[in-house]
Structure formats: C-alpha cells, structure tokens
Amino acid sequence: MSKRKLIVRLKHLYLHAYVWFWIFVAIFPVLWIISMSLDPRNISKPTTLTLIPPGASLAAYLRVLKHPYQGANVSFVRLLWNSLLVAGGTALLSVLFGATAAYAFSRFKFPGRKAGMLSFLVVFMLPASATLAPLFVILTFLHIRDSLWGLVFAYTSSSLPFAIWNLKGYFDTVPKELEEAALVDGCDRNSAFFRVILPLSVPAIAVTVLFGFMNGWTEWMLAWTFLTKPKSFTLAMTLYNMVGQWNTPWSNFAAFSILVSLPIIIIWFLLQKYIVSGLTLGGVKG
C-alpha cells in the first residue's frame, strides 16, 4: 500500500469515528426511550442502561392504550380523534388558504404585495406566547376558547406564514408559459390555478400539509392553556400531563411518547426529500 493511500485510509477511519460519535449522540435518547417502553416492571425509576430490559414486554403500551389520561376518564380513541381533528383541520385550512394566497403573491403584481409578504414574515417570527394574553381574552369573548375549533383557527394562523412563503417560492418556479397556454385554450384564472399550478406543485403541497399537521399534532401549550374539558383533550396534552406528575410512570410515558411521535416520524422520513428542498428553496431561492 502506498503511503498516500494509507493516509487517505487513516483519514477515513478518523472521519468514521467522528461521524459515529454523533450518530451515538443522535440515537442515544431514542434507544433509551425504546428500552424504557419495553420494561415490564412498570418502573418509576430505571437504574441501569440496558437496550432490551429483562423480560421485555409490550405491557406499557397496553396500559396507556387502555387508560391514557390520569386523573380523568377519557379513552385513547377519543384523544386520538381530537388530535386527528385538530391536526387534520389545521393541515387542510393552512394548505387551502395558503395556496390561494401564495398564488396571488406569486402571479399578481398588486398594490400591497410587498407589505403583505413582509407582514407574513413578521408574523412568522412572532412566538405564540407573545400574543397569548390577548388571544386568550378574545377567544374567551367569542366563546370558542374552550373548543377544538378555536385551536384549529389559532394553529392555522401560525402555520399560514410558512405555508404561504413555502408555496410562493415553489409557484415561482412553475413556468408561466404553462398557465398562459391554459388561458389561451379558454381556461379562466381559477381553473388554470386548480388544474395547472396545483397539480404541478405536489411536493410543496405535501410539505405544507405535513407542517400544518405536525403543528396541530404536537402543539400542547395553547391547548393546555385554553382547554378545560378532558373530553376535548389531545394526545400532546396527555403526554405533557404525564410528566407533570411527581411520580412519572416512566415506561408508560416512554410507550406513549413513541405512540404519539411514530406517525410524525414515518411521514417525515417519507417526505424528507421534499422537506429539505422546500425549506432551502423558500429561503435560498433568488
């Protein structure tokens, strides 16, 4: 082996070690939570680091499916349905309203366009807790604070800036000629949008739907502050409530967090390619 080759090999070896260190960091919490979820002893306190605990079983999963919310009698199916409603509603409304608005920003040069885009950007960086006080008061007066619909509206509003930004960036890359051809062929603007632009923008729409869904599925802070009836609680709130207690049943918590995050992780990996290009396109594109 030549000296040069040896140096390259050593360099690769070193880099592999470096990458493996970070892989270990990245998956350590995941392994820990899987291990805890399989522990049969309904431990409140784990004392060893083992990947597969002795007598591993799915008992914790069954327990949380049967009786998910401590302190209130509400079924897993009910919580799941609430979460699906909130997440699905948020995804649907944000893609519907986001796409139409993004189309206008992409294709029309109307007075107020620049100000509109900038105001969406300002809202994008505004954290939910900064307007929590007035939102709480307003939704209370409108009598929708303690309802899932109030949540859907709040989440849609916080998902829209990204949805519009992301979709506008994508629409900009769809050649105008396609639309013009459709207009010449007798389409009006509406059908050109629904039949030409939308079908060509599936990747960006998929990402927008995913982000809206994720927002609704994982948000717990507004939900926890606004909702009071256990009947309308979500999965995210349930998980938060589990940790809030002094004696966290750790295997139950672990099993539940896996159940809640698994759908998101699966969809995320399926759409990963689009997420990356969507995020970088929206930001980097000139």
């Binding site: 990245a26 608005a101 505004l126 900064a130 307007t131 939102l135 829209l160 970088t280 930001g283």
Partner: protein, 321 residues
C-alpha cells in the same frame, strides 16, 4: 406580469381584484387570530387587565405602569428579572447557533468526503433528532437529566466520570467564571444542540454539493493545504447558502419555548428563563394579562429588531419578494 406603472392606484387595485380574492381567506384568519390580538394587546398593555376582567372587560387605564414594572423587575411573579432573562436569551441563542452551525458543517464535510462508505445510512441516522417532534424530545431529555435515575448520569457513571450531577436543580454554575450559567443551562444546551444540528447539516450538505469540484483541483495543483482550501474555497462559498438557514436558526432558538420550558422549566430560580417562557408564565399561572401584554409587546419589538438586523445582513427576504 404586466407593468401597470402608468395607471392610477385605484385602477391597479381594480385590475387585480382576483388577487385580493385569493388572499382574502388567509388574510381573514390572520386578521382575527393574529392582527386583532396584536392591536388588542396594545390596548391591554396600558390597563390593569386581570382574571376578573374576563367576565367584565372594563379594566382601568394605568398608563406606562406595566412597562415600568417590567423594566424595573417589579412584576409580582417569582424570580422575575427582565434584564437577566434578556441577557440569558442572547447568550443562549449565540451559543446554540454556534454549535449547530459548526457541528452541522463538520458532519456535512465528513459525509461529503469522496468515496466515503455508508454515507446514506449515516445521513438517515443523523437526521433522526430533527424528525422527532421537539416537545417529545424535550420531555425525553428532561427525563434523561434526572439526577438519580436519568440516562445521562447513568452513562457518565458507566464511563467512570462524575455522575451525581443535579442537572436541573443545582443553581450553582459548573464553570466558575461563567457564573450566570447554571447546570440547567448545559442541560438545555445539550438538548437543543441535539435537536438543531441535523438541520444545519442538511443545509450545509446542499451548499457543499453545489461547489464545483474543479475549484478544489485547481487549489490542490496550486499547492493549497486542506485548511487553506477550507478557508478560501469552502467557507466563502457556503456562506451565502447558509445565511438564510442561520437567520432561521437564530429566530427558532431565540424563541425555543419547548426546550426551555419542558427541560429546565426556566429554573432553578429563574436562571434559565428566556423571554417566551417568561411571557407564558405571566399568563399561566400568573393571570397578569395586562403585564403579559406589555411584555408581549416588548418581546415583539425585540424580535422585530433582530429580524430587521439579520435581514439586512443576509438579505434573505429581498430576493424572495
């Protein structure tokens, strides 16, 4: 797009009627749930709005009292200290983004090495922290930082290192001259670095792949060292692609509610509080709606400043407009 520059404003608006119709639904939702609350917040900020006013919305006008109470740390909430929170928030953001970017770029470069084995598998594994919903990651890490039974201390024990660290409850600083940063800061930091490096790695990978290979060949022929290539080719060329991502990272980290609130809870003694967690606590459990509104406005102004400032550096949005 047709150039309408020679016609009047009203005519421009009339000709673009369809555009406004397309924007209307989004604008309506945002007006009700975002814009109106901001306006309402301005009014509330000058009143002594409290829980009782939820039934009777006629609070008294108090002028600038709420703002003065915030700036003078006189808010009746445990451990409230606006200036410490603001300073901590800035340190928190800078340190986090620094680690996100350096780790992200270093991993992207390692995986971009020619003929590197198992690249795809490695990338998929490294991206896992990004795919897990952040509030679940935060809850898991909080659990892992438990003093007696947490995975972090168990791991340290296995490695023969000091392992009775009260990560979340010890108010003292582990590094003496960084006395304002308690153990909980490092717990939050580890969690958030874990959470944030994959995003920067992915962005850096894209940026690295767009650099023409010929540049490196030319540099090698000219006898440039690896370090020289990094500082004179790689870094200047990925800077532009990284800037919008860094700006996004700054805003995300500055407002990283889930990690701070769920891992350290802002404690011990409010030492790891950031602005958004403080804003939340003023409402729940504080119930101090008037002060919370004033606080929200202050946060809003600070963020506006940061956005305009970073936007000027990166010019990220100008090109997109």
């Amino acid at each position: 797009m047709v150039d309408y520059s020679d016609i009047g404003l009203w005519e421009k608006i009339r000709r673009n009627k369809l555009a406004y119709k397309y924007i209307l639904p989004a604008a309506l939702v945002m007006a009700i749930v975002t814009a109106y609350p901001i306006v309402y917040e301005v009014w509330m900020a000058f009143t002594n709005f409290s829980i009782v006013n939820l039934k009777n919305p006629h609070p008294a006008f108090v002028g600038l009292r709420n703002f003065i109470m915030i700036l003078k740390n006189q808010v009746p909430l445990e451990n409230f200290n606006f200036w410490r929170t603001l300073g901590f928030n800035v340190i928190w953001t800078v340190v986090n983004v620094f680690f996100h970017v350096t780790i992200g770029i270093s991993l992207a470069m390692a995986l971009n090495t020619p003929k590197f084995a198992l690249k795809k598998l490695y990338r998929a594994l490294l991206i896992i922290p990004w795919a897990v919903p952040s509030y679940i990651s935060a809850l898991i890490w909080r659990n892992m930082f438990d003093t007696q039974f947490g995975a972090v201390n168990l791991l340290l024990a296995k490695l023969g290192l000091p392992h009775n660290i009260a990560w979340l409850t010890n108010p003292n600083a582990p590094i003496k001259f960084l006395s304002i940063l308690p153990y909980a800061f490092y717990a939050d930091l580890i969690t958030n670095v874990w959470l944030g490096f994959p995003f920067m790695m992915v962005v850096a990978t894209g940026a690295l792949q767009s650099i023409p290979k010929e540049l490196y060949e030319a540099a090698r022929i000219d006898g440039a060292s690896e370090a020289g290539q990094f500082f004179h080719i790689t870094l200047p060329l990925i800077r532009f692609a990284m800037m919008p991502a860094i700006m996004l990272g700054v805003i995300w980290t500055f407002n990283q509610f889930n990690i701070i609130y769920l891992v350290s809870g802002g404690g011990p003694l409010g030492e790891t509080e950031i602005l958004v967690t403080q804003a939340y606590k003023l409402v729940n459990p504080g119930g101090l709606f008037g002060i919370a509104s004033a606080f929200g406005l202050v946060v809003f102004l600070i963020l506006l400043g940061i956005t305009l400032f970073t936007n000027r550096i990166t010019k990220a949005t100008e090109s997109a407009l």
